[in-house]
Point group: D2
Amino acid sequence: MENNFLVKDINLAPKGEQQIEWVSNWMPVLDGLYEKFNKTGVFQNKKIALCIHLEAKTAYLALAIKKMGAQVWVTSSNPLSTKDEVAAALAVNGIHVFAKHAASKTEYWSYLESILKNKLDATVDDGGDICEYLHEHPEYGINIKGICEETTTGVNRLKALEKEGNLKYPAIAVNDAKSKHLFDNRYGTGQSTWTAITHLTNLNIAGKVVVVAGYGWVGKGVAVRADGMGAEVIVTEVDPWKALEARMDGHRVMKMEDASSLGDFFVTTTGLSDIINYGHILKMKNGAFLSNAGHFDFEIDIPTLKKKAKSFTVVRKEVEEYKLENGKTIYVLARGGIINIAGGLGHPADIMDMSFSVQLGCLYYFLSKEDSEAKLYSVPEEIDRLVAEEKLRVEGIQIDH
Amino acid sequence: MENNFLVKDINLAPKGEQQIEWVSNWMPVLDGLYEKFNKTGVFQNKKIALCIHLEAKTAYLALAIKKMGAQVWVTSSNPLSTKDEVAAALAVNGIHVFAKHAASKTEYWSYLESILKNKLDATVDDGGDICEYLHEHPEYGINIKGICEETTTGVNRLKALEKEGNLKYPAIAVNDAKSKHLFDNRYGTGQSTWTAITHLTNLNIAGKVVVVAGYGWVGKGVAVRADGMGAEVIVTEVDPWKALEARMDGHRVMKMEDASSLGDFFVTTTGLSDIINYGHILKMKNGAFLSNAGHFDFEIDIPTLKKKAKSFTVVRKEVEEYKLENGKTIYVLARGGIINIAGGLGHPADIMDMSFSVQLGCLYYFLSKEDSEAKLYSVPEEIDRLVAEEKLRVEGIQIDH
Amino acid sequence: MENNFLVKDINLAPKGEQQIEWVSNWMPVLDGLYEKFNKTGVFQNKKIALCIHLEAKTAYLALAIKKMGAQVWVTSSNPLSTKDEVAAALAVNGIHVFAKHAASKTEYWSYLESILKNKLDATVDDGGDICEYLHEHPEYGINIKGICEETTTGVNRLKALEKEGNLKYPAIAVNDAKSKHLFDNRYGTGQSTWTAITHLTNLNIAGKVVVVAGYGWVGKGVAVRADGMGAEVIVTEVDPWKALEARMDGHRVMKMEDASSLGDFFVTTTGLSDIINYGHILKMKNGAFLSNAGHFDFEIDIPTLKKKAKSFTVVRKEVEEYKLENGKTIYVLARGGIINIAGGLGHPADIMDMSFSVQLGCLYYFLSKEDSEAKLYSVPEEIDRLVAEEKLRVEGIQIDH
Amino acid sequence: MENNFLVKDINLAPKGEQQIEWVSNWMPVLDGLYEKFNKTGVFQNKKIALCIHLEAKTAYLALAIKKMGAQVWVTSSNPLSTKDEVAAALAVNGIHVFAKHAASKTEYWSYLESILKNKLDATVDDGGDICEYLHEHPEYGINIKGICEETTTGVNRLKALEKEGNLKYPAIAVNDAKSKHLFDNRYGTGQSTWTAITHLTNLNIAGKVVVVAGYGWVGKGVAVRADGMGAEVIVTEVDPWKALEARMDGHRVMKMEDASSLGDFFVTTTGLSDIINYGHILKMKNGAFLSNAGHFDFEIDIPTLKKKAKSFTVVRKEVEEYKLENGKTIYVLARGGIINIAGGLGHPADIMDMSFSVQLGCLYYFLSKEDSEAKLYSVPEEIDRLVAEEKLRVEGIQIDH
């Protein structure tokens, strides 16, 4: 079969390859699983599609699948995060990649079709679009043994389908794996949020007031790192137990209404919309910074801010300055998008190594067994454990048994 | 009805009352629930029995129940932890208390009988002995609306009974409440373990190597406080995810076999037996300290140590010195019993305030509803939430809604 | 010469010996210096007096000096901290000890005379009373080669004498040694303050507001340990640089006037009087705890509190409850005396090992050289270094050169 | 007078102005001193030269001096750190700037001459070249009232001159100010070192071993931030007291020889050369990262590494990969130059605000008094205090008095 693909500029491939080469050094868990699975021949001649954030770390996952003998199709789940050089690198390495940075909605869906019409055996989904498409075009889904969904959003769509009795394919909620959610949300986002904020602003965090909205895994990670940088941390929560945990971890806890006037840096981590609204913004100190570490860009009400502000200027890469009607100046980082990706380099490679290994393990799980019932599965304990134990092994950590 | 009771010395009552008076200052959550429940009249004329560690904090719970109009019987779940002065204080305040410090097994079961023959409406159990007795003497259990079990041990006995189809009464697993297990294990045991160790030894923890066996809630609490005192913390685990969490929290992780020769202080928190065995002890540095923060005293193999050591001396209150055959000296704190209770003052009052409030809430839950089915219940979300929200209220913490 | 001494009860000696035996395990630096100095014969037949807090750790220092061939006299610098059992243990081991717990002023000075009339070669002083006496009775000071002064108070008296031109003896400011002030104030007092507070109160520190007055070495130690226990820490200071350090270490910084109403626990560490005055106390939350970790008991204005409070009760060992005219209740720990000694077990033995080794080194310094000029000396770099390097050696820490 | 200057491209000015505009928001202490000093007229018509790292923060200092009525000359103390756009911005704003990125040695000295021949009243020096030049050309130094030297290197040259009796001008050691060295070395370098490392590598620090060479202010800052990111920290030192401090702060302490094989990330902070030599490098784990946070680029022996390595590749911006003869791969960040500047954005603006305010204060000090004696001065207490108190004021922190 011809190596069909669609990328912006195939000449960018060397640059993309260098990026993939770099992350390949820090993804030994994936390498370990590759070794194990490759011997089984399970991936041999299978057709696999991935709809993911197209960057070096996911590219390395795609290449590992191909190396095991599968045919691999890739598109991007988010045109804004697509790296054209990485797409080019995949293309020259025999992956059927259809993706361009800043692709239009129409292009996006046409890429998806180019991929899905190949009657895949299994897919990796990030947000649920593959799943949606395959439900609308069941003729393309006849070979599907399973869909591995990365995000909570995608899982919620799957749950809705299952509840209505309309789920047509076996699917798995990858985020549920302990090897994923205990690590990438807390340690990965926790650290990379602060790398992004300090890199974008070049300001000192020690002695500043950091307001963290939400004390789930992401919020805990962001708060503990802020504490580790010498900040005074204030947490806002709606859950009473998490609020008490935050307090007993030494943080101040209060309503956002009260925290608004105290913070120097705000980081939302709740997954809910309008956590910081325009009323909050008006109360803020002159020079406060707003940022979001949650998946969606709706935690800060930027539309209203944009509408009501007297002026708006990009004063630095990914730093927007808003002059408010009350005379104060407020800064928004990375336009309220997920700060560590939109305003930084994304999660550390060695943390995503665990998450993407869970993905690979889930693909293996579906491909290696008889056809599964069409329902939503949890990540099997043995896959989850395999990833954790491989991580311990590559880190040289021995534990008791 | 006459105020029958059996205590060691009723004249100790004033001393016991002073202790109860002290803890009453730090149990405002229980006071809050008392206010709410008292208005309902639900406890009026009910017969309630408690089999608990008999000390000031549990005594305050018993008195609150009595003040709401119930008749209250109390005995101790552990004769060694019984405080005679607190028993006396309960007796003079109209509680039917049957308990003496260091009571014999025979006395213990006779106390239990004295209490349970009163055909109670509900009970608080700590370890499952009330439950066992009522299954053996169903004639005493005819009015029971529910049993509130504090410990994991007790809950395991309940689960076994349920599985066999032999559970005769509704029961509730109090430890499952988020208001309990998220707080008393981590923050309560974490702190009070170190108060006990530093008070017993008068040694500096900064710059020492602390080996924590287990990274569950107790282990996490003990480790974070050791870190906060300037120790180098080593964690041993059997669970790969917890091992990785420990590592990413900055601790070293290894097998006990390897940690044995590195530690200055050892704290076991696993709930499993022989975590530190004699082979480990032989490898230890001269002057190492062994202690246990788990519920049972079997985590360190003290019987073998005692048998094999060349000599054994009590060199300080709750500090035993063992001279080993290899010439080294090892110290055991609190005879390997749970260090914060056996070698200290127990959990902080303001933390147990939450745990005992869950107990009160569970009693209320059973008493306020129609007869429940005989099975093992989780703590109802609304009771759990009531406790957490009351804690927030008394701490003056406002959260978003 | 006969072994003259004066103690309360010589039969207490075995109990005292057990205490000294315990601390002897944790003072290897002193042992190391003993080995070095003993070979030189410098202490042989010398007459040495110590006026110190008479407890196990200082007793071990006295015994080490005797073992090197010196005659040793000991009295206590503070009758309230004197341990009669330790005094007895010294007496039966050939030390000329004159000390009784709670001795009167008259007795105190008579003890000092009994000691100093022996025309000593060198002395260890703690507060300056030996020095004062020897200036008043120069006939006793004719052999003095040097006075080693432990405290800042004593050093200030020495400085005054030197400035007036009246200093008659060589003296050394032991507290200036890096091996002392960098460690015992910060790590020793920092930890033992919290052992004392948690042991006296049995309350949870996580989630509480701790106000630390002063951010010198003691304040830094108390604050970092409070932080490590999950407290929210507020610092008050008069020095702008220390205030900024506290802020950039993540603490809130404000005036005591503003902190008064926020604290759950107050710890003064300033060395200055009336840091917490009655006006501050009136603003405090109901149930606040006051304590002092500074040398003197004047940092909290307890006299005024005692005079103005409606009532005053000892509710627990070293916990005094004051009912204020405004209806609130305030607790004072250890009567405002230095909390880790007056309300606890004193500094950890392994920290004082360094401090008392500096003392021994300074005695050695004076005894081993020709007569020194009568002036105030700093601890010689070589002595200071000797102690630090010995500490590294006994801890098994190797450093670069 | 004509506005003479020499820059690479005057058209870059708008970009430079935007950068200066940004930092101006975070330098309120400098603004405060400007307000105070401007009223005095002391800078009016004075001739001032600055030889500094030419970037936005120092540019803002230069502009403040000009706004007070002085004529200002600027050159760069390090051609590699020169930002041409900032130089252009200064030029269009009336500063006599002579600087180009990557200027040759010859150009460098010609720029210095262009500036110094103007017979300045006072100068800011960074490394001592102005000072050297003025000693060689005393005809240009006839009006000099004082030289404000930023660095320790420069101060050492001044001390040597003073010792030889050859110091011709009054000079001041700016780094000695508490408002500078207590803050920019510890908090500024501590944070920005980690921003640079995480931005350059996109790796997770939690659970990694970080080896910090040196435990002075910079080392302490780098270590505490590594600890705050979840690393296991190992410290190497030559000073026994600092080694013990590191240990009691919870870090492991050992020789570099032993630490070599343990570290994932190495950061040197000693100011000494060859702290990491080729022998150390050969022992390192595959994939280790070497970086330096000290002033000079000689702490890691890169020349030998370059000579002996089998290959050398730039794999990422400021990340060099060395393949060693032993088969392992080692990465060097920012070519061993000071990582936070050479591989990052430099110190946070709000920390440098304090340091540059000390500079301004020292200029004011010399200009406002009669001619000073030619010797090396400490920063006057009142200037140092002025900066600290202004920082407290702008942060809204009130302290006791």
